[in-house]
């Protein structure tokens, strides 16, 4: 017995010796360590070559590269590397490059450099050629003239996507490192970390203030929380919502911004039960978005109506969806002949319970929460939801073994609505997981594709969003708010609605 007591004491000692410790070292004001959940192989963004998958996000986020135009807080375009542009005709745009922009190797950025970069982009990238539809690029001094094979009204938006970072292609890609025009340059890039140093040749008015930045990929929420708490990191992105509370004090600062990232779920139209509008509507009505956002996301989001957040002109203020109403949902099911005839708590028809498979993944920590809350809500109206939350979800998507697929997605990464419709909604789109097929949507998309002018495009996008909501083809739960947490001596680090401007020259430690 004594031995056991000793063992307990010893193990308790070991446990507690891990806590505490003195972390007060003299702080280097020119070095910055940044922990992020958003960098890694799973996110398909390792490396800094923007012409490869989603790596451009890393190039832009970590201040290595810059695009021709950038987005303001309202996701409207402003000049960046480019000074201005001229829409020559519906197929041609002429862009003037600023005179003073140089790559981090000191080389001047001119029309030819941009042409070479865009040529390389179209040759190598998977999404860019489909978005841009460029037929030819001509360079003349500081001008580039881009001709597209068909009308691309959102061309400049697409060019401002992270894949549009302008890099010096003559230098090539060495050990995942590219030469960009940003305030910092990469010196070492691995799958879990990026080491950056100041770009001494930075062209912008504000010069970078830090000597060295380390971007660390930490994909476990608790590890990230604790690393921030014990002072290893100067700033973090992607903390679990439940941890944010720990940093709401004078030692830290939090910067938040609404983004167009949404939690949505698509109904599989191949499932016979879901071909009935009443069933889809009933499910949409049973989702308690308010409480999901308020409680499970700890208020770090906005309950969604449609796919786009309210800060966009074609966003949630312009569309309407069914309201949370359990009784109404039950009535709809009854109307369609679903009744609980055997008293097991689930509605049935022809002796079969209404049982659905809900597929989602866990790398976005909020998705399983949505799944579990949907499961409980749907039980109240007699629908049995079997949740399959697995990071192996692509296998299930391929095999079609799901009735509802829920995911998180940035709906307007370039401030333009068309991308969302062409990638997720129109019939045959790569990510149209529900096999939703609407003639009206196809016709509207066709129209959108040929319409210039932000206002006209907004009007069409509103019509399309409303059509999706009327059909209850998907339900939209919540728009995510993104947060940066930083030590209180960090300045110039603010969250942006685009989700891809992070490290800027303004960043410093006081």
């Amino acid at each position: 017995m004594k031995k056991k007591f000793l063992a307990v004491l010893l193990s308790a000692g070991i446990l507690f010796s891990g806590c505490g410790g003195d972390n007060k070292k003299t702080e280097d004001k020119t070095a910055f360590t940044y922990g992020t959940m958003a960098y890694g192989v799973a996110m398909e963004n390792v490396g800094t070559n923007p012409h490869e998958s989603y790596s451009g996000w890393s190039t832009l986020r970590y201040g290595i590269g810059e695009t021709l135009f950038k987005f303001n807080e309202k996701m409207q375009l402003e000049s960046w590397i480019a000074e201005n542009f001229e829409q020559v005709d519906e197929f041609t745009v002429k862009i003037k490059i600023k005179d003073n922009v140089v790559f981090s190797n000191g080389k001047k950025v001119d029309g030819l450099a941009v042409k070479k970069c865009l040529d390389d982009l179209i040759k190598n990238h998977d999404r860019a050629p489909k978005d841009l539809k460029i037929s030819s690029i001509e360079a003349d001094g500081q001008f580039v003239t881009i001709k597209s094979s068909e009308k691309v009204p959102a061309l400049l938006n697409y060019l401002s996507d992270p894949y549009g970072c302008i890099i010096d292609v003559d230098e090539g890609v060495k050990d995942k490192i590219v030469i960009g025009t940003g305030p910092y340059k990469a010196v070492k890039v691995t799958d879990t970390q990026i080491d950056l140093v100041k770009n001494e040749n930075y062209w912008g008015e504000v010069k970078p203030k830090l000597e060295k930045i380390v971007v660390k990929s930490i994909t476990d929420g608790d590890t990230l929380t604790m690393a921030m708490q014990n002072g290893e990191l100067d700033a973090v992105q992607g903390l679990p919502y439940s941890s944010l509370k720990l940093f709401e004090n004078e030692k830290y600062k939090i910067s938040q911004s609404d983004t167009s990232r949404i939690y949505q779920a698509a109904f599989n139209f191949k499932t016979p039960e879901l071909q009935d509008l009443n069933v889809r509507k009933a499910i949409s009505m049973a989702i308690d978005k308010e409480n999901f956002t308020k409680v499970l996301l700890n208020g770090n989001g906005t309950p969604a109506v449609g796919p786009f957040p309210a800060n966009l002109s074609f966003g949630d203020n312009e569309v309407h969806a069914v309201n949370f109403d359990l009784e109404g949902a039950k009535n709809l099911l009854t109307e369609s002949g679903w009744k609980d005839s055997d008293g097991d708590g689930y509605v049935d028809k022809n002796g079969k319970n209404l049982e659905l498979k809900y597929l989602t993944y866990t790398s976005r920590q909020e998705l399983p929460l949505l799944a579990e809350s949907a499961q409980a809500s749907l039980k109240k109206i007699g629908i049995k939801l079997n949740v399959n939350a697995t990071d192996n979800y692509k296998t299930f998507l391929k095999s079609g073994d799901y009735d509802i697929f829920s995911k998180a997605i940035v709906t307007a990464p370039t401030g333009d609505p068309e991308y969302y419709f062409t990638s997720h909604i129109v019939s045959g789109a790569v990510d149209n997981a529900g096999f939703y097929d609407s003639a009206e949507i196809s016709q509207l998309e066709n129209e959108l594709h040929n319409t210039f002018g932000a206002e006209n495009r907004s009007a069409l996008a509103i019509k399309m969003s409303q059509k999706i909501l009327d059909d209850c083809a998907l339900f939209y739960a919540s728009h995510l708010k993104m947060s940066f947490v930083m030590k209180n001596n960090v300045e110039g680090f603010t969250a942006h609605p685009s989700d891809y401007y992070e490290i800027r020259p303004e960043l410093e430690k006081k």
Binding site: T225, L246, N291, L296, Q365, A376, S377, T390
Partner: protein, 271 residues
């Protein structure tokens, strides 16, 4: 009951009450353990919810109580399966010998060579999670221990005079196994099993903690701890309650196993 068994009584009472809670869990829960009420999420322990509520507003006490069913029953069922299956294999091997013995024992060597938890994680991962799959993974790796023990015991009693007497009396192999072999190896196997309950509970809860066992919304202690993991600093009751439940249960069953071994004096008898 002779005085020899007296030290067992307190532990039997403790283990008995745990099993009582598990059996009558449905009647003991103050609230529906699966009813979500987001308005009441993450309430600290109070007079209405003695152990507080989790992030979905479910009563933690109710979930811990109903979770005892999942955790204890699946562990006991699993243990029963592997101890019976394992000892049967071992007894047959020891009794029959020959090629069958060599084959099965080498097979058990292969399984014994794997670190138990690592194998279970790999197997449960490959099978795709779920409490049943997790238990199956643990069963696959767990039986050789019992096979080894019972085979060893059978080898020592095989040449006993009463065995020869039974053989000469014309008793069939099955008859000998059931009437003479099993009763004689039951004691040590029982003690091993009793000592194993704690380990099995830990392993099942461990797999659930890793997301390879019980699936949401099933109330299972390991899964509950995993769900509350990110709230350790902000709402510690969510993780402490199931954690304490695991601690108490494992401690009680381990102490019971220890005492049982002392009382039956298995080691002493053999040496």
């Amino acid at each position: 009951m002779s005085s020899r068994y007296r030290p067992l009584i307190p532990y039997l009472i403790l283990a008995g009450s745990l099993i009582f809670v598990a059996v009558f869990a449905e009647f003991l829960t103050p609230y529906d353990p699966y009813a979500q009420n987001l308005e009441n999420a993450l309430n600290a322990p109070n007079e209405k919810n003695l152990l507080g509520t989790d992030r979905y507003g479910r009563d933690v006490l109710s979930r811990v109580i109903i979770g005892s069913q999942t955790t204890i029953f699946s562990a006991l069922l699993l243990l029963l399966t592997i101890s019976i299956f394992g000892s049967f294999i071992g007894a047959v091997c020891g009794f029959k010998g020959g090629k069958l013995d060599i084959f099965l024992m080498r097979l058990s060597d292969v399984f014994l060579a794997f670190p138990q938890m690592v194998f279970a994680i790999a197997a449960a991962g490959a099978l795709g999670g779920g409490l049943f799959n997790a238990a199956a993974a643990l069963a696959v790796i767990g039986w050789p221990k019992y096979a080894r023990i019972s085979r060893g015991l059978v080898l020592t009693i095989r040449e006993m005079p009463y065995m020869n007497a039974a053989k000469m009396a014309g008793t069939s192999s099955a008859g000998i196994l059931f009437h003479h072999v099993f009763p004689n190896i039951a004691g040590p196997v029982l003690v091993t099993a009793a000592l194993d309950i704690g380990t099995i509970i830990m392993e099942l809860a461990g797999l659930s903690f890793l997301g390879l066992g019980a699936m949401p919304p099933t109330a299972e202690w390991g899964a509950m701890m995993n769900n509350g993991r990110s709230m350790l600093q902000t709402a510690s009751w969510v993780i402490l309650a199931p954690g304490t439940a695991i601690f108490i249960t494992v401690a009680v069953f381990n102490l019971l196993g220890d005492k049982l071994r002392d009382v039956l004096d298995v080691r002493g008898k053999k040496s």
